[in-house]
Each structure stands twice: as structure tokens, then as C-alpha cells.
């Protein structure tokens, strides 16, 4: 959704929210709408966590409980005003999320959701057994919210509070997604390797998202406590946690509006089914879980992205004319001078995986303004050498120096910050993000705006610089016309060039290219060679792995030849071409 006049839309929505309580809508529907609002808040957090960030949580209900119990205890036992308990409730929820998150978010894939299930259950039983939380009976007599001299006793009066908060949460979350940090969050799903190689601390980004989602849940709990004015543990159990996830999945786990849609569908369906099903089946019970269970399975089988994309696709907007960012005010790095210390100095590095020695005592130099080719048969250890230099793997021996200082013990993201950028043999891009946004990931460490700046749109000046730089690099490599397409729609050869643009956006002093010419046609290879020559002339050093001998021979100043992890030859291309050891390695000694 990219409305032309967001301000007007916001004003209209605020007016609608303020007038609904005055309209002759039955109380029943008002209270249902209030519930939808409360659930939407949690679901918006889950959209960010699960749909965007790729981390599944069944435990959000526990964070709702943290918010609700904090304000319930403080406002009843200690008589503190609900407005004062709000910051306390949010800080406490955030602290709990930080503690739990720092244990669980580093675990990828399935351990996180299983962990959330475990602590979701643990907190449910804890709430139900702690005396000061009222144990199974919960806490009654929670004071209502008070605005001026008005107590917000009934649902009708509460309605604007709930929905203005929901609107604010959606606004801030949408803002966040279109920022520097938002790109880092959206790139999480596609794996962590590329992000780390471009200076993003993925564990920290995950933790931020986790705490963000928990705080929204805590806020929902705070509202819930003062709306219901009595709470008990059943509202914060694992089944409710599963329902929150259902809402996000049904609505569309990748879309902020999907959260509200999902919360609406699930809440209304649950309400209606609780009336209808017992009449059909007889007896009484929570039969709606059967329908919910089937719904979850069917949606994942047939509409993986939820219902929201189906709805917006039904109303196709004309092709959007997105502006091409142009801004080149981003500060640039001073390039190393030739003749001084070598840019890259690899001294006897080794890497073994168990018994297999992938790289064995390899030594070479890359000087300033040099293009060095790293060649060798398949399995020679070229990509492993790249991973050792860029810190994605830790060497088991030897040293790596960049512009005179040791980098072999540094994590990948710190090495990136020094000015080493790379591409990958197997393309590592976020396919759903646009080409431009993928390149902007490369410029991530050249910006500094964080969570709050992004949510409040205080980062616009910096954002303009970063996107401008990304656009500039795309035009430079010849992909300017694809800027606003999703990266996944490009051909493999183009994706490799896209990776080069992303690497250039980091403003590197040393560029590592892993088979950049693979999948390119003859003319494209010539253009690539011209680009690399130009980069060298501008002062960049380049280390590249490539199988296209003609390409390598024509371009490089030196060659380093590996075979079975060992360095077998070094020298200028003309020498290497005649070197008998190299010929034997490549051709198996036939010559």
C-alpha cells in the first residue's frame, strides 16, 4: 500500500475511529471490534516477527500476559494510575523479551518456535500458580482508564483508544519496514550469510524484532486489562498464543494490514462458531478449534501468503511510477595508495573440516589497484579461501592482514566495515525485495539510523543518501532499468551483476568476486571486464575466482593457482599459462 496522500488517509481513518462509537452500532459489535483491535496489535508484532523476519512464535500470549499482569498488580495492589503503569508494563515486557530472546533468537529455524511453545506454557502455569497474581482466579477490580475526568468504563468509550493505538502501531511498523533497519529485517528470511558479510549483526536485528513484537503484545495486554478490568491466566495460555499465529497466517504474515484482516476473520469466526457449532454438534465445547485447525492447514497448502495478497491482487493498481532516487552525497572511503602496505596479505592460512583439509598453507598478496585471479579446479579451496578472508569461516591456522592489520579473528560484519565486500558463488539475495533494496543492503553500514528514527521517519535524509547510492551503483553496472523489480524476477547472470552492485554500495577498498562471469553472455562479459578495469583505475583492489580462462587472463595482474587446498603456482598470467604444474592440475597430466 502506497497511498498518494498518506496524511489525508490518516485523517480520514482517525475521524472514522472517533465517529464509530457515536454511530448506532450495537454494543455487542463494539466490544467485538475492541477485541479485534487488541488482537491486531499482537498480530502486527507477529507479522514483523514471523512474516517478515521469518521467526515463528507461539508464545506471544505470554507477553500479553506480562503487560496485563503488570498493570493489574500495580493499579490494584499499589493503586498506581494506569497511565503511569503503561511505561512500566512496556519496559517490563521488553526486559522479559530481551532475556528470553537473547537465549532463543540465535537459534534458527525450528528451535525458536519450539522454545516459544515451552516458555509460553511455563508462563501460563506460572501466572496460574503465583499468589500475588491471584493464581487461577486472576485479578479483579482493575481501575478503568481515565481521560481528564472521564472514566472509560464501557467498550464504546474505550473504542477510540484501542483503535488509535492500532493505527499508530500500523503506521510506525510500516515506516520501520521501509528503512535501513527494515531492510535488514526483511532480508533475515533469506539467510544470514549475506547480511553478516555486509556488516549487519543479524542476531541483534532478530532480537530487536523479537522485543518489538513483544512490546506490541504487552501494550495489547495493558489495554486488555483496563478494558476487561479483570484478568485470569486463560487469556494468556498457549492456545491463545496459537490463535495469534493463526491470525497472522490467515491474514497474510508478510503484511501489516493482513494482521488486522486476520485478527478480524479469526475473532468474528470464533465468535460465530461458538454460537453455531454447539447447536449443530450438541453439547458444549470449544469446537471452533477444529475449524481453525483445518483453516491453518488449508491456508498453508493453498494460499501460503495468506488472504491479504489475494485481496489486493483483486484490485490491480496501474503500474506504479516509483521515483529513481538520485543523491550522491554519501561520504566515500579514501582508497589505498599503491606501493605502501599490500591491501590484502594472506599468510599461510589453513582450514580443515574434521579430517578434510580444504585450505592448506596458502600465501598470497593483493596490492593496491591490482586485480588478482584465484583459479584452480573444482574443490581446490577457492571459495573456502574467500570465506576465510571475509570472516564467514574461521581459519584454523595462518594470518590474514588487511591494509596492515590482522582481520583473521574478526567476525564477518566487522571485516565488512573495514571495506571488504564480496559476491557469492551461489547467489545470496532476498528474492522478494526489490533490486534497489537489495543493493541498499550493501550500503547498510554507511548509514546509522536505528529503530526510533526509522519508525518516526527521522531518517529521511540519510535514507535518501543510501538509496541514491544504491541507484547510482545499479546504473553503473547496467541494471538501472530493473531497479524496482523484485530481485527474484531477474535471470541468474543479472543476479550476479546485482551482487556486484550490492558489493560496490559498501564502498569497498577490496572487492572479492566469486565467479562473476558465470552465466554471462559474451558481450556482458566484455562489459563486466570494462567495469572491473574502471574500478581498478579508481583505486579499488579486486580478488576474483573465475573459470573463464580468457576472461581471467585478459583482466588480471597476477594469478594464484590452488589445487586440493594447496598453492601450486603464482605469477603473471603469461607465466601461469605455460606452467607445467598448473597444466597438470587442470588437464590431469595428459599434456
Amino acid at each position: 500500500m502506497n497511498p498518494k496522500h498518506p496524511g489525508v488517509v490518516a485523517v480520514i481513518l482517525i475521524l472514522v475511529i472517533l465517529t464509530i462509537p457515536l454511530a448506532p452500532i450495537p454494543d455487542y459489535w463494539i466490544s467485538l471490534l475492541n477485541n479485534i483491535g487488541l488482537f491486531s496489535l499482537v498480530a502486527v508484532g507477529l507479522v514483523l516477527l514471523t512474516g517478515v523476519g521469518g521467526m515463528t512464535s507461539f508464545g506471544q500470549a505470554a507477553f500479553v500476559g506480562f503487560g496485563a499482569y503488570t498493570t493489574a498488580v500495580l493499579s490494584t495492589t499499589y493503586g498506581i494510575s494506569p497511565w503511569l503503569t503503561l511505561p512500566i508494563a512496556l519496559v517490563l515486557t521488553a526486559a522479559a523479551a530481551l532475556a528470553i530472546g537473547s537465549i532463543t533468537v540465535r537459534l534458527s529455524g525450528h528451535y525458536l518456535p519450539l522454545g516459544t511453545m515451552a516458555w509460553g506454557l511455563a508462563f501460563f502455569y506460572l501466572f496460574g500458580n503465583l499468589e500475588f497474581l491471584g493464581a487461577h482466579d486472576g485479578i479483579n477490580g482493575i481501575p478503568p482508564l481515565r481521560i481528564g475526568h472521564h472514566d472509560l468504563f464501557d467498550g464504546r468509550a474505550f473504542f477510540p483508544v484501542v483503535w488509535l493505538v492500532v493505527l499508530a502501531a500500523m503506521f510506525l511498523t510500516t515506516n520501520l519496514l521501509h528503512t535501513r533497519l527494515g531492510r535488514a529485517i526483511r532480508a533475515l528470511r533469506s539467510g544470514t550469510i549475506a547480511n553478516e558479510a555486509f556488516g549487519i549483526d543479524t542476531a541483534q536485528v532478530k532480537l530487536i524484532v523479537f522485543v518489538y513484537a513483544a512490546v506490541l503484545a504487552g501494550l495489547s495486554g495493558w489495554l486488555y486489562a483496563h478494558l476487561q478490568r479483570s484478568i485470569n491466566p486463560t487469556a494468556f495460555g498457549i492456545n491463545i498464543g496459537i490463535e495469534y499465529l493463526l491470525m497472522a497466517v490467515v491474514g497474510g504474515a508478510g503484511h501489516v494490514f493482513g494482521a488486522v484482516l486476520g485478527a478480524g476473520i479469526v475473532t468474528i469466526l470464533k465468535d460465530q462458531l461458538q454460537d453455531i457449532l454447539p447447536k449443530l454438534i450438541g453439547g458444549q465445547g470449544s469446537y471452533e478449534t477444529i475449524v481453525f485447525g483445518f483453516m491453518l492447514v488449508v491456508i498453508l497448502q493453498s494460499a501460503r501468503n495468506g488472504l491479504w495478497p489475494l485481496i489486493i491482487n483483486a484490485f490491480p493498481a496501474g503500474p506504479e511510477k516509483l521515483p529513481v532516487p538520485s543523491d550522491d552525497s554519501l561520504a566515500q572511503r579514501a582508497m589505498p595508495k599503491s606501493g605502501a602496505v599490500p591491501v590484502l596479505d594472506v599468510r599461510g592460512i589453513c582450514k580443515s573440516f574434521g579430517g578434510l583439509v580444504a585450505v592448506n598453507d596458502v600465501t598470497f598478496l593483493v596490492g593496491a589497484k591490482e586485480i588478482v585471479g584465484l583459479i584452480g579446479p573444482n574443490g581446490a579451496g577457492k571459495s573456502t579461501t574467500f570465506n576465510l578472508v571475509t570472516g564467514l569461516l574461521r581459519a584454523t591456522g595462518g594470518e590474514v592482514l588487511f591494509r596492515g592489520s590482522r582481520i583473521d579473528a574478526m567476525p564477518a560484519r566487522d571485516i565488512a566495515a573495514l571495506g571488504i565486500a564480496r559476491t557469492f558463488q551461489h547467489v545470496e539475495l532476498a528474492p522478494e525485495m526489490s533490486v534497489l533494496e537489495n543493493v541498499a543492503i550493501g550500503a547498510h553500514i554507511r548509514g546509522s539510523a536505528g529503530l526510533l528514527a526509522g519508525m518516526l521517519r527521522l531518517d529521511r535524509a540519510e535514507e535518501k543518501c543510501l538509496l541514491g547510492e544504491a541507484a547510482r551503483q545499479l546504473q553503473r553496472v547496467g541494471l538501472g532499468e530493473y531497479m524496482h523489480r523484485p530481485a527474484g524476477s531477474l535471470a541468474l547472470g543479472q543476479l550476479r551483476i546485482l551482487e556486484i552492485a550490492r558489493a560496490l554500495a559498501l564502498d569497498p577498498a577490496l572487492l572479492l568476486l566469486d565467479e562473476p562471469a558465470a552465466g554471462l553472455r559474451h558481450l556482458e562479459k566484455r562489459e563486466l571486464a570494462a567495469l572491473l578495469n574502471k574500478l581498478r583505475a579508481e583505486g579499488m583492489s579486486i580478488l576474483l575466482v573465475e573459470h573463464d580462462v580468457e576472461f581471467v587472463m585478459g583482466l588480471t595482474d597476477h594469478l594464484v593457482v590452488l589445487d586440493f587446498g594447496k598453492l601450486i603456482a603464482k605469477g603473471v598470467p603469461a607465466e601461469i599459462r605455460k606452467n607445467p604444474i598448473v597444466l597438470e592440475a587442470y588437464l590431469g597430466g595428459v599434456v
Partner: protein, 345 residues
């Protein structure tokens, strides 16, 4: 805590630990073969226990109707998926196996249930009703998504859990039941008493674990499961159908779940939703064991049983809190000492 209490709690730990061990081992198996984290495993425990309880009371268990219903759904889904390439013989085969057999089962159960045939025939009948649900569940929910990410499969598993719990309520009702024990005999060993039932539980568990070991090591079917666990693609390349290994894994998991239900049904009262928590404790054990080792999962299950028994003695209100938080140190350890793992959609 005196020696008698200690021994009593130890015995208790061993019994519940045995059941968790069975569940944990099958969860590891299902996960490695199909990549499904099968949260609804506990529902088979419930179904097993409540089916036996109904048969003991001389009633037709809800599972008989449920099996027919699930069979009809499976048949409809299968016919719909094959609608473009459906031959008459395939259609007839699907209808006979998916609807015909469950219908025959229902008739048999309606005929024999009032006769109260005794514990052993009733147990066999229970397994005949519950075990086919396993492959049906795989076919309806998981097979179309077999190549999806672990996360998607996990969310589907949670959906199946919700569906099965809700259906449990419809077909068994909200009341709890306890079945009679395999044996009422109690041995008096001086300082403590040992019920024959607890010996049965431990012996059955041991027998099943040994049977599983032999199945994996000595039979072709077991080896196909191991092959699929190592590499689905590799298994397919050598002619193993991963659909078939999926059915097999889910048949085994339903069987072991139902057997656990038969054993646990006499030890505690089982309600339609009791299985979830029991199954999750099996999961805690499977995770403690790293989700990839049968012996570690079984050993961890004994630990879970022990923690549960001793915490129910000394901090009974917080029993579940303690059991579900022992997973945290393990996750912490993993997050500190394993490199940040990759996950691709």
C-alpha cells in the same frame, strides 16, 4: 525425604519417563524422516486411552466414526488431487481402502463392542482403530507440503493438533476416563510396593524400543526410513518413495502413541486434551536429545520423568513450569556454542 518416598518417586519417574521416551523416540523418527515436528503425537495417546476406555465400557468408541470420517475426507482429497488423471480402477481402489475399510471396521466394532471381549482383544481393536489415523493425517495434511520448510510443516502440525483436539472433544466428550490396569497385582518388596502395572509399562517400553532398533537395523523398510532421514533426494534417487516412508513413519508414530495411551490410561485420568501436554513433554525430551539421536532422546525422557516426579513432590504447583523450563538451559547452551545456523525458506 525418606528412602521410601525416594523409591516411590523413582518408580514414578521411571514409569512416566518410559512413556515420554517412547514419544520422544518417535518424534525424532518422524522429524528425521519427514521433517515434521509432530506436535499432535500426544493426541494419539489420548485417542488410544479413550478408545480403550469406551470399549471397556461396552460402548462404540468415537474413534470408529472418526476413522470413517477421516477416511471419507482422505478419499475426497485424493480424488480431487487426481482429478485430471483419474482412472476408474484407481478411484475404486481409493474408495475401497479409504472408505470401505473404515466402514467395515465400524460395523465390526458395533458388533463386538457390547460383548466386552476382555482387555487383550479390546487393545488390539483400539490399535486397529487408532493406527490408520496416522497415515491418513500424513496424506491429508503433510504430503502436499512434503518439500516445504520445517517451519511451515511445524505450523501445519499445530493446525493438525487443533483439529485433532477439537475432534477428540466431539467424539469422546468432555469427561475424563481411566482404563483398568493390565494387572492389579502388587508386589510387596518390604521397603516399597511395586505394582505389576508399572513393570508392564517399563517392559513394554523396553520391548518397543528394542523392536524399533531391530526394525531400523535389520529390515528393508526400516532401512528405507533411515535413508530418507539422511537425504530425501538421495533416497528417491535409489528408488525409495518418500511418500511411502512418510506413511510408514506416521503409521509407526500413531501406533506407538496409541500404545502409550493404552499404558497411561490406567495410571491417570485422560481427558480429550490431555495428550497435548504429555506429547510436549516427549518433545522437551526430544529437544534435550538434540532431535537427532534416539538414545539421547530416550535418556532425556527419563530425565524429564524424574524432574517431573520430584518437582511434583517438592513444588507441585510449579511442576509444569519446571518441566517446560528445563529446555531453556539446553537452548542457551546451543545458542552459545553452535554457530548461528542458516535457514533458507
Amino acid at each position: 525425604m525418606d528412602a521410601t518416598t525416594l523409591l516411590l518417586l523413582g518408580q514414578d519417574s521411571l514409569i512416566s519417563g518410559s512413556i515420554y521416551a517412547l514419544l520422544a523416540v518417535t518424534m525424532v523418527m518422524v522429524f528425521s524422516v519427514t521433517r515434521v515436528l509432530f506436535i499432535p503425537q500426544g493426541e494419539f495417546v489420548t485417542y488410544g486411552a479413550l478408545t480403550l476406555a469406551a470399549l471397556e465400557a461396552g460402548r462404540v468408541p468415537g474413534t470408529a466414526w472418526l476413522l470413517l470420517g477421516v477416511g471419507v475426507v482422505a478419499a475426497v482429497v485424493a480424488l480431487f488431487r487426481l482429478r485430471h488423471a483419474l482412472s476408474l480402477t484407481t478411484a475404486i481402489r481409493i474408495i475401497i481402502t479409504d472408505i470401505g475399510l473404515p466402514a467395515v471396521m465400524l460395523l465390526i466394532v458395533q458388533w463386538v463392542a457390547p460383548m466386552k471381549l476382555g482387555l487383550i482383544p479390546e487393545m488390539i481393536l483400539t490399535l486397529a482403530l487408532v493406527v490408520p489415523l496416522g497415515p491418513f493425517v500424513y496424506r491429508i495434511a503433510f504430503q502436499p507440503l512434503a518439500e516445504s520448510s520445517i517451519l511451515v510443516l511445524l505450523i501445519v502440525a499445530v493446525g493438525v493438533h487443533m483439529g485433532m483436539t477439537g475432534l477428540g472433544l466431539v467424539f469422546f466428550g468432555p469427561e475424563g476416563y481411566q482404563t483398568s490396569a493390565f494387572s492389579e497385582t502388587v508386589f510387596d518388596l518390604g521397603i516399597m510396593t511395586v505394582s505389576a502395572q508399572s513393570l508392564w509399562v517399563v517392559a513394554t517400553t523396553a520391548a518397543l524400543l528394542i523392536a524399533l532398533y531391530i526394525f531400523f537395523e535389520r529390515t528393508v523398510s526400516g532401512k528405507t526410513l533411515r535413508a530418507a532421514a539422511i537425504s530425501r533426494r538421495g533416497a528417491r534417487l535409489v528408488g525409495i518413495s518418500t511418500d511411502r516412508t512418510g506413511y510408514l513413519a506416521f503409521t509407526l508414530t500413531a501406533m506407538i502413541g496409541a500404545v502409550s495411551g493404552l499404558m497411561i490410561g490406567s495410571l491417570t485420568t485422560i481427558y480429550f486434551d490431555s495428550g497435548f501436554i504429555i506429547g510436549l513433554k516427549g518433545f522437551v525430551a526430544a529437544i534435550l536429545g538434540g532431535l537427532n539421536s534416539y538414545p539421547l532422546a530416550a535418556a532425556a525422557a527419563l530425565l524429564v520423568g524424574t524432574v517431573e516426579s520430584f518437582s511434583s513432590y517438592s513444588a507441585s504447583a510449579f511442576k509444569e513450569v519446571i518441566v517446560f523450563t528445563i529446555i531453556i538451559p539446553v537452548l542457551l547452551w546451543r545458542s552459545l556454542f553452535s554457530p548461528p545456523a542458516e535457514h533458507h525458506e
